[in-house]
Symmetry: D2
Subunit: 311 residues, 4 copies
Amino acid sequence: MSASRYTYLGPEGTFTEAALRTLPEAAPRELVPMVSVPAALDAVRNGEAAAALVPIENSVEGGVTATLDELATGAPLMIYREVVLQIAFALLVRPGTKLSDIKTVTGHPVAQPQVRNWLAANLPDALWESSASNADGARLVREGRYDAAFAGEFAAATYGLEALVTDIHDAENAQTRFVLAGRPARPAVRTGADRTSVVVWLRADHPGALLELLHEFSSRGVNLMLIQSRPTGEGIGNYCFAIDAEGHITDRRVAEALMGLKRICPKVRFLGSYPRAGVDPAEVGPTARGMSDEDFTAATDWIARCQDGRG
Amino acid sequence: MSASRYTYLGPEGTFTEAALRTLPEAAPRELVPMVSVPAALDAVRNGEAAAALVPIENSVEGGVTATLDELATGAPLMIYREVVLQIAFALLVRPGTKLSDIKTVTGHPVAQPQVRNWLAANLPDALWESSASNADGARLVREGRYDAAFAGEFAAATYGLEALVTDIHDAENAQTRFVLAGRPARPAVRTGADRTSVVVWLRADHPGALLELLHEFSSRGVNLMLIQSRPTGEGIGNYCFAIDAEGHITDRRVAEALMGLKRICPKVRFLGSYPRAGVDPAEVGPTARGMSDEDFTAATDWIARCQDGRG
Amino acid sequence: MSASRYTYLGPEGTFTEAALRTLPEAAPRELVPMVSVPAALDAVRNGEAAAALVPIENSVEGGVTATLDELATGAPLMIYREVVLQIAFALLVRPGTKLSDIKTVTGHPVAQPQVRNWLAANLPDALWESSASNADGARLVREGRYDAAFAGEFAAATYGLEALVTDIHDAENAQTRFVLAGRPARPAVRTGADRTSVVVWLRADHPGALLELLHEFSSRGVNLMLIQSRPTGEGIGNYCFAIDAEGHITDRRVAEALMGLKRICPKVRFLGSYPRAGVDPAEVGPTARGMSDEDFTAATDWIARCQDGRG
Amino acid sequence: MSASRYTYLGPEGTFTEAALRTLPEAAPRELVPMVSVPAALDAVRNGEAAAALVPIENSVEGGVTATLDELATGAPLMIYREVVLQIAFALLVRPGTKLSDIKTVTGHPVAQPQVRNWLAANLPDALWESSASNADGARLVREGRYDAAFAGEFAAATYGLEALVTDIHDAENAQTRFVLAGRPARPAVRTGADRTSVVVWLRADHPGALLELLHEFSSRGVNLMLIQSRPTGEGIGNYCFAIDAEGHITDRRVAEALMGLKRICPKVRFLGSYPRAGVDPAEVGPTARGMSDEDFTAATDWIARCQDGRG
């Protein structure tokens, strides 16, 4: 039964739901909003859901650090898919409200930087108060507590509101990346345009540890796509790093880099290899010189010959 | 008038207010709570306040990324002091409430990981809902919307509540670091136990840029205390890094490392050098071999002699 | 028949012969002096000898670069043993000669720095002329062309001379390292105190190539014992590097470093793994953290589990 | 009087003399051949000569290591000019000798690899014996001891011989680099196409020392043109490194790299900055991004502004 259910960071009408609905495998399933990232992921850990979609990068829903911390600790989960969504806000109001009627606005705290300039230009006197989520803000508008809420345009219908203004965003390229996490199993199949995610703990007594970690990737020509420090909860100054690298764990250069991490770091958690959203394998650039699977195989063969006296 | 006022991340009764009250220079001043980190800092930028205390590291109030992003962008500010506070939660209830009465609890989302284990052990059936801040949660308890709120014990008096349980925290060493930010001026005087903060942008087209950046510090024996990636708002995968290094900008090794960053990075913002909270300069370890001010001076003298033919 | 013969850099009476006689395996064999390092090694390549002993490091006989260049190019050879000899010169004279009789002295050019101070103090007016080898100098003394020659004390008997002064050397610790080279076959058995020799060519168009090469060793905790640049013969500024590393090719960390070189360098030649002369395996320090064979095996197992979904 | 005299590695008729005669400043001076590199340089140290020309790189005369060791130790000298010479050998014979008459040949040992292939093809049965220098070999041919000598074609006249074959060399691009060394004084004036030479000692107890040394250059975009390890005379495994870098000590990036070496290495000896032979400053490529003098000045100004509160 759980295989028929996906959870996501709710409530209904958030960007996360919109992202989940872009996945073909979500279509036949029951999609259940959860109150928090931990709740969405715990449902997977407990077997109540097959997978959970949660935001992981670029802060619109504020879910990023919660997601990274959840994936880094607790019972292991793995990532099998990613979704990248362009983020733009609509100003949701009760039907009939005009711009000049708006005295109070709400939205999630992390939406504020995205709409700040728009507010200054269009509603300079409106009072901003934060809500727990964009969708929650929409609910509070419907209840009359605020005059307008910033949320995804798709949330208007859910809450009986109207999108007075759409496509509000400050950054030219506002996006959020979401990941579909399930219980550990074989990684997604290699496509040639893949991303590999790990969490790595550093030895606190070793100031050069981060440099060494980065060298494990760079010395094998593996590009990093994300590096995000997170406190380990063991006091100020203790970090682990969430790292996304280009490539798949079955690529030799990636596997060797991960083995390097495993040897030099006190702890490494593999979070999965999965297809990069919206990237065609045919467009992926060439592998760094000497770092293809063929190069690794040739080097392994050479060492064997040397050890046999046929070098 | 503004010199007599400090702002802080409100509302009243948060850990930030508690942290601010530990600073001697706060005693004679008017302390004004603001609704958000941007609001607290904008009051300084606008000249309405002399300085603002905001959380910057380790997530209890959720202010970390907001603070980093605010300091990285907008009109420049500088850090002059830091405060480190042990974080422990109290379970605040309306007077008379017993543990067995509690069906609903609230608190800021980032408090949840700190209290999760305690909840599972002591209130396994209580329903958690997030509030916009710990103090806001306390207010909602007073208003009867929830039965209990996690917040600092000091918030009980402010909101007419009672601390039913105190010293709740999951991590052994839960701390939050706060910084006092003002308009740019001369850095705080060097004490010998100092911290220097910068924000550094990387060239997106250069995969080894982070390695080079770290080398500017490591090659001069400068330890890093914080490295936090932040999206630049120019799309997924574009980062800047908030970095705290040991030492003061007037230490030659620190100045040279910063100049190295300035040369190789498209943008660097200096956020200040200031005394490390709770660290006695007498206890700071020795400078790395060859990296004292005397070593830098000796090298400069030697080059001058070489250029004069007296090497 | 050739298996019964070892060649060495002659003529008779050089330090190389003395070094060869310290090897137990030399005792039953015919030891044949050759006029040059290339000649000694070519005899092995041609099958006329089973192995050749030639000096490789620290310049007393001047053979170092000739040896490195011979091992780097031409038909491949491999090193199976090393000998380290303390080097001290004797002043050889025709019987009856007194110090005050000596007007002219000779010796190999590279001996000169070792005896220069002694000459300045004891024979300040003697005229130095170079000879083609120390032993050749001894021969020229016997023939009456010079009054005295610097050579090994053991050469006195060969040439019918007398050691007037012994133990002459400038450096406190003058040593020469010799290697026994044979045709390629299985490397010498690992002892736990081993040395691995390679020659590595760098890509001329890549200024950071040497740094990358060194990282292949340092990132795996492999110490280098020798790094010697040699011109490749393709014009000024084109180099290959003779490198000796601690450890044996069957040590995982060494094998991985060599495979790294193989991938990033246009050419690598494996010259052998062999026991370090005079080093007791019991006295070799511990392997760098994370770099033992067990650590490599554990990392390989972990990757396999990750790829199987059991990470 | 000494200012009118230059010494060089003799005897007359060597490639070194030919190189010296290409220098305009040599024309009016007395050119004195010396028996060895140390003798040529000591004449400068003693004030008997103004400067000495000695081979330093790529081994035809065998002077390379002798020169490096002499410049690294003893009373300091500095390099003011370099000369690069194409090296090709002539087969010098007594007038009338035919190729078929030649049974014995001689030459400096380091000439042998350059002529080996030619010998194998043209005089497979000739017996090679080494001489102390190429010119000395010519002398021995004149005296009848050998039938032919390999030397520079220009040596034929000096020794009354005839060049039977010319332009013999194995490597396509055989060159020798010579340097003109004098007593320490102001470096040669910057031309924009300069070379800077240093000798650097490494801390023996620090396996990563060579890596750190190379980083001082690479992190400032300074290319290396030569890196040559030399034993320090303190036992096998103790090295110093002769290093040539692109650029002039008055280039900020070079000065900063040298100061870095001065701080991290137990000893650095500056050997001079001087024009690159045969390189037009107009053809020198652009400085690495961020590493021009303007970039260094901008970074210094920025730090000063930060320290003043005007960052």
